[in-house]
Symmetry: C2
Subunit: 297 residues, 2 copies
C-alpha cells in the first residue's frame, strides 16, 4: 500500500470513532429539528476528519486520555464544518457541490444554513468548556481561548475576508501565503497544538507543535491548490478550476505546477523537522504530513 | 423624571463604560481591516447595551469586580450584535434599517456581514475564556458553557430557527411563548445569571436570577411586539408592523393590545418576585424590569 492509501484506511477507522462522539454531542431531535438536521448534514458529509485526527495524534504524544482528544477534535470539526457551510453560501463562494453532495444551503435553504453554521460554531465552544473535556478548568479555558483565536477575525475568518477581497486583485506570493496561513493554516495549527494544551506540556513542546501545524497548513493548502488544477471533479467531490474561474491568484498560478509541488514538499519537510524533539511518539503526526502531500482528494 | 427617562440616562452613562471595554477588545486595525470595521459598525450602532447592564447589575449583587462584569457584558453584547447582523440578512428577515442606520450587510455587503457576525460570535467566547475576565478558570469555563448554551441551537439560534419556520403557519400562544423564551429570553437569562456565576454564588441565587431573566425576557419580547404595533418608525429606528407583514403571529395578535399589556405587566411582576431574596442589593435589576415595560424604543 502507498502511504496515502494506508493513511486513508487509518482515517476511515478513526472517522467511525469521531462520528460516535459527534453523534452524542448532536442528538437529532429537539424543538428546532430542522436546524439539527442541517448541522448533522454539514458534519456527517463524508469529510476526512483530518483535523480531529491531528488533535488525537498530537494528544497521543502526551498520553492524553482519548475522551479529551476526541471531544476536542469534535469541536475543531464543528468549526471546520461551519466554515464550509458559510463559505459555500451564495454571498460568499456560491458553491452548489461539496464532497459530492449538495451544499448545506442547497439541501436546506440559506437561512437554515446560516443558522446551522452559527449553532455549530457555538456548540464547538460549549463542547470544549464542558467538564467532560478535561478535569482541569484552566485547560478548558485555554482550549476555548486558543481555538477562538485561531478561528476568529485574526485567524480563519480573517483569512476568508482577505481571500474574498483578493479576488480580481493583483496579489503577490507574500499576500497569498498570509491568506493560506490564516484561512487554512490557523485551524490546522490549533489542531496540532491542542495535544500540548490537553497534555499541559511545556512552552517548547507547544511551540514545536504550533510550528508543525503552521507549516503543515501551508503544505496542505498548496496541495489543495494543486488538486484544483490537476484533480478531477469526481474524486474531489467539488468543482475544480474554481480559483482560475474566480480570477484568484494562487501559488500554483505564480510558481507553476512544478514550482508549487517543490514548495509543498519543502513546507512538508519543514513541518516534519519540528517533530524531531518528540522522537517516535510523533510518528502518527509524521504520517499525516506524508498523507497531506500524497492524497488525491 | 419618569422611570424610563431616569433609566435612560443611567444606560447612557453605562454605555460609555461598556464601549470603552468593547473598543479595547476590538482594535480597528489589522490585516482584515474591512472585517473589523463591520464588527465595530455592528457593535457601536446606538444600542441600549441593556444586556451588559443586566450583567453588571447582577454582578453587583455579589460585589464582583467591575472588570469581570464589563468583560462578560461585552461578550454578551457581541453575541447580541452578531445575532442582529445575521437576522437582518436577506435570507433571514431581510431588513435594511436597524437603529436608524443601514443594516450591516447594507452598509458593507452580505459576505462581510456574515463574516463579521462569525467573528463577533467567536470573539465573545475568546473574551470570556481570557484570564483577564476572572482569576478562577472554572468560572471562565462556566461562563463559556452557559453563554454557549443560551446562544446556541437549544437557545437563541434555535429560537430564530423556529421563528422563521412559524411564518405563515398557524401557531398558538404556547408555541409563541417557546419562541420568545429562546429567541430573546435565553440571552437575557444568561445576562441575569452571569452575576451569580462571576460571584460563585450558591445554586439558589443562580436559580433565582435565572428565573428573573427568563420572566424579564418574556416581558421584554411582549413589549417589543407591542412597540411593533404601536411604536413609530422614527423613535424605534427600524421598520414597524414587521410581524403583521410577515404573517407572523405574536401574543399581541392573539391577546389583543390590552391583553398583551396585562400579560407583559404580569411577567414583569413575576420577574420582580424572584429578586426578593436579594433585598436592596437587587435594586438596579428592579429598575431594569420597570424600564423594560416603560420604554418607547
Amino acid at each position: 500500500m502507498t502511504p496515502a492509501t494506508q493513511m486513508g484506511s487509518v482515517l476511515t477507522a478513526f472517522g467511525d470513532r469521531i462520528e460516535t462522539v459527534l453523534d452524542s454531542l448532536l442528538p437529532a431531535s429537539g424543538s428546532a429539528e430542522r436546524l439539527y438536521q442541517a448541522m448533522r448534514y454539514a458534519l456527517f458529509g463524508g469529510g476526512k476528519y483530518l483535523r480531529p485526527y491531528i488533535v488525537d495524534a498530537s494528544a497521543d504524544i502526551f498520553e492524553v486520555p482519548q475522551v479529551a482528544s476526541l471531544r476536542t477534535g469534535a469541536a475543531v470539526e464543528m468549526i471546520h464544518a461551519y466554515s464550509l457551510v458559510h463559505d459555500d453560501l451564495p454571498a460568499m463562494d456560491d458553491d452548489d457541490l461539496r464532497r459530492g453532495r449538495a451544499t448545506c444551503h442547497r439541501a436546506f435553504d440559506e437561512a437554515t444554513a446560516i443558522l446551522a453554521g452559527d449553532a455549530l460554531l457555538t456548540l464547538a465552544f460549549q463542547t470544549l468548556a464542558a467538564p467532560e473535556t478535561h478535569s482541569d478548568a484552566s485547560v478548558r479555558a485555554d482550549l476555548v481561548a486558543s481555538l477562538a483565536d485561531s478561528a476568529g477575525g485574526r485567524g480563519m475568518v480573517g483569512g476568508q475576508m482577505i481571500d474574498l477581497e483578493s479576488e480580481h486583485v493583483q496579489v503577490g506570493a507574500a499576500a497569498i501565503r498570509d491568506i493560506m496561513r490564516l484561512k487554512t493554516g490557523a485551524l490546522l495549527t490549533f489542531s496540532a497544538m491542542a495535544g500540548a494544551i490537553l497534555g499541559q506540556a511545556d512552552a517548547r513542546a507547544r511551540e514545536s507543535l504550533r510550528n508543525f501545524g503552521s507549516d503543515l497548513g501551508l503544505a496542505f493548502q498548496m496541495k489543495d491548490d494543486l488538486l484544483d488544477v490537476e484533480g478531477d471533479e469526481e474524486s474531489l467531490g467539488k468543482r475544480v478550476a474554481k480559483d482560475a474561474e474566480a480570477g484568484k491568484a494562487t501559488l500554483v498560478s505564480l510558481l507553476g505546477v512544478e514550482g508549487a509541488r517543490r514548495e509543498a514538499r519543502r513546507m512538508s519537510d519543514a513541518a516534519l523537522a519540528h517533530l524531531d524533539c518528540f522522537g517516535t511518539r510523533a510518528d502518527r503526526l509524521r504520517a499525516v504530513a506524508d498523507f497531506v502531500l500524497a492524497r488525491d482528494h
